[in-house]
Symmetry: C2
Subunit: 314 residues, 2 copies
């Protein structure tokens, strides 16, 4: 098994900046990734919160290439590569493996609903077969509230049995602790790494032997989340968890992606960060001020993000 996640117990589904024509802004993405890494958070680029499903396969390939060209470490990257269409999943996964990424985070194909475990099994099996590279590490992405296509325990069991070196773990974004616990109990002992989909479950997850979390709010609150992942055996762990939950709670009062981008725009003094692609809508000015006010009340800050963003043309 590849244990490189041990250096990366916390990853962020990195938000994707757009220029004024709504094209992905590779320069700003590289800078934000650098800031996350400097705060001990790994790069789950092309996740749900990256608006990855509003990006074409070509755009994702270009952005991944830009991150690599900028010298960011592939060993800290877990790009999302699961698409509706098999050839897209294969192309993205192949590229990620070729760059030496620590793994890929793979959604099931999510257009057709009420599909069988057999059909989902075949999707993953076919991708593994076509990529045909022993370096491939797949983290399954279970996010039923959005994908509406779940990855069941039965499916994991079968995949793990048939592809033991390749099926490396899961991100559980069900928000259902009993499901995460079941994954931890059944699969983590077999070298299958369970990441919670939110830092709300970070302490519970690591206490049950899990690998950490991959969380939207790691985009804005990386250091404190990574700190808990490293120090969860210390006495103040529960206190740390409560502090994380408070900040998370503020963001949960807003639509997540525009909220994250609004916070970055504010703390980096870089208005261009507020842009989102349709079907999302940027946060109205008044709501943004409300969010920043609520964060300021909690003494929330994003240390050094402004200086990291300096000199980027708007």
């Amino acid at each position: 098994m590849n244990n490189s996640y041990r250096d990366a117990g916390v990853l962020a589904p990195v938000v994707t900046p757009f220029d004024k024509d709504l094209r992905p802004d590779a320069g700003r993405l590289v800078r934000h990734c650098r800031w996350l890494l400097s705060n001990d958070v790994g790069l789950a680029v092309f996740g749900t919160n990256s608006e990855a499903n509003s990006l074409s396969t070509g755009e994702k390939l270009e952005l991944l290439g830009a991150l690599i060209d900028a010298g960011l470490p592939a060993a800290r990257m877990m790009p999302g590569t699961g698409c509706c269409a098999l050839p897209d999943s294969v192309e993205l996964t192949r590229a990620a493996v070729g760059y030496g990424c620590m793994g890929v985070l793979m959604l099931p194909p999510f257009y057709y609903k009420n599909v069988s475990d057999e059909g989902l099994y075949r999707n993953y099996a076919e991708i593994i077969d076509r990529v045909a590279d022993s370096r491939l590490r797949i983290y399954l992405y279970h996010i039923p509230p959005i994908a509406q296509v779940p990855i069941t325990l039965t499916l994991i069991e079968r995949l793990l049995r048939d592809f033991p070196g390749t099926i490396a773990g899961v991100k559980d974004s069900s928000g259902d602790w009993s499901n995460t616990r079941a994954m931890l109990e059944q699969f983590q002992p077999h070298g299958f790494d369970v990441f919670a989909g939110s830092e709300r479950f970070l302490l519970d997850t690591v206490r049950h032997g899990g690998a950490g979390c991959i969380s939207a709010t790691a985009n804005v609150n990386p250091a404190p989340i990574a700190h808990l992942a490293k120090t969860w055996r210390t006495e103040d762990a529960d206190q740390q968890q409560s502090a994380l939950n408070e900040i998370r709670g503020v963001f949960e009062g807003y639509v997540m992606i525009p909220g994250l981008k609004s916070a970055i725009a504010h703390f980096a003094s870089d208005e261009s960060w507020v842009r989102v692609r349709p079907p999302l809508v940027e946060m109205p000015k008044a709501r943004r001020e409300e969010l920043i006010g609520a964060l300021t009340d909690k003494r929330f800050e994003m240390i050094d993000i402004a200086s990291d963003q300096q000199g980027v043309p708007n």
Copy 2:
């Protein structure tokens, strides 16, 4: 307004054949399209029942090119071009308009859920703006059971007001007649063409001024459906509708796409038609025999389909 649909009151979301490596089989697709046209049914290629969301944008562009190269009339084509990612929707739509297609059938971006009408409006507005071609005719694709992202009456009203020559109609696959009727009452008088998503609602739709239907089962039962669309004012219309419902009812007892493909495989004596891409699974042999038995009991047949398929390598 472009009234070319008047010659095409019934369209099929054309099922997509795959070769043994699960690549789209352009030769078989062309032949099936020819058979549908010879039965008076237009070509809504790349619909839900086409497994379009299991095809990459590149594969769809290639298939559309192959249909055009084979001499099939673009004026009878309404390809599905709505994707999750804006650049994909723009690229496919631009190609369809360039070929002179009668229109495009456009899903909303369907990954992110609970998005606002404002966000969906911006998606369509941005596509219209980027395609920038006065020949563009968009048929909105409302299929909440699968896309899980609805196209509301409020959204249609706003789009129709702002893009009156371009927003040409809707396919309503809600299965909710009260919604179809509301669309017919509010928008059809303004030159907005309402297609039912199933021939079950064909007679009701045309009696309320609608344009026809775009239906999965038009892939297998095209002539009788097209006949009702042409003769709905005749005395036997209700009887025709009942007969259509009986055949539709048989297919509704099975998973639709594998069922349609199994019927084609049987009546065209061409086993390769049973293939589907993951996450779908082909129908087990016993279920296929059951389906064919049920169809035979109803004296169902697919006239001339076998001879049309002759000489296609497997």
